[in-house]
Symmetry: C2
Subunit: 142 residues, 2 copies
């Protein structure tokens, strides 16, 4: 098994119930296994998790900073600009903070960025150079 | 296509060549498409990217904080404690900063955390409650 894998992406959140509601509002369905410290979401063969800051601090054994906006971005890609616009609008409706409205970006794609309730950054993008399969996974190389 | 997907995880890095060397040293093979601003790595149907802070700041149109250790964790899971120990040792050899040495954690697994050259957190874990397929993807629910 290669080391070149990401099994799970975990976001530290200050209020797990607030974050559960936000991700539910933008269409994420929680998987089983969660509790009052953590919520799991299946994303293909990975998990995405929301983890209360108190529990995560205990887990890793060090204090963590309050905000991390911009240093790590999770991206969800779509097949068209219209799909990006719709998903971005849905996120705004759910209470996301707009960082940049969807627009043409210098690298040749179309994307917008929003922050979740803890300031975690999500990019919604259409990259005309990438092909997605029916499940939204990337086909081929970059 | 569901919105519940992560297409790419991008880390902001202050010195792209330093980061390229670090990820190469821990066994990641760069995909095509990179340049002096960004490096792409295929991880299943996703990409993992290292993006120079200067370019990312331009991309998202806002300043970003210097460090984010702990607010976002990328995890790579293994089938045994021994595999975790080996991968953790490889990361140390590559110059990673040890955050927590691999040990039994309160949630019932065995994991260690290290920080990459920009302070981005990686967890190497064996979760006895999860089954991984031959490619390292998670089988079933959490």
């Amino acid at each position: 098994m290669k080391s070149q894998r990401i099994t799970m992406v975990t976001l530290a959140v200050s209020d797990l119930e607030r974050s559960r509601k936000f991700y539910s509002d933008i269409g994420w369905e929680e998987a089983s296994g969660g509790n009052d410290m953590i919520a799991f979401y299946k994303a293909g063969g990975q998990f995405f998790a929301l983890y209360s800051k108190a529990a995560l601090t205990k887990d890793i054994g060090m204090p963590i900073h309050e905000r991390s906006t911009g240093n790590v971005t999770m991206a969800t890609n779509y097949n068209s600009r219209e799909e990006v616009d719709k998903a971005f609008k849905d996120a705004m409706t759910a209470g996301a903070v707009e960082i940049s409205t969807p627009a043409e970006i210098f690298w040749g794609g179309y994307s917008g960025n929003f922050a979740d309730p803890d300031g975690h950054m999500w990019e919604l993008a259409h990259n005309p150079f990438w092909t997605l399969d029916d499940d939204g996974f990337i086909v081929g190389e970059a």
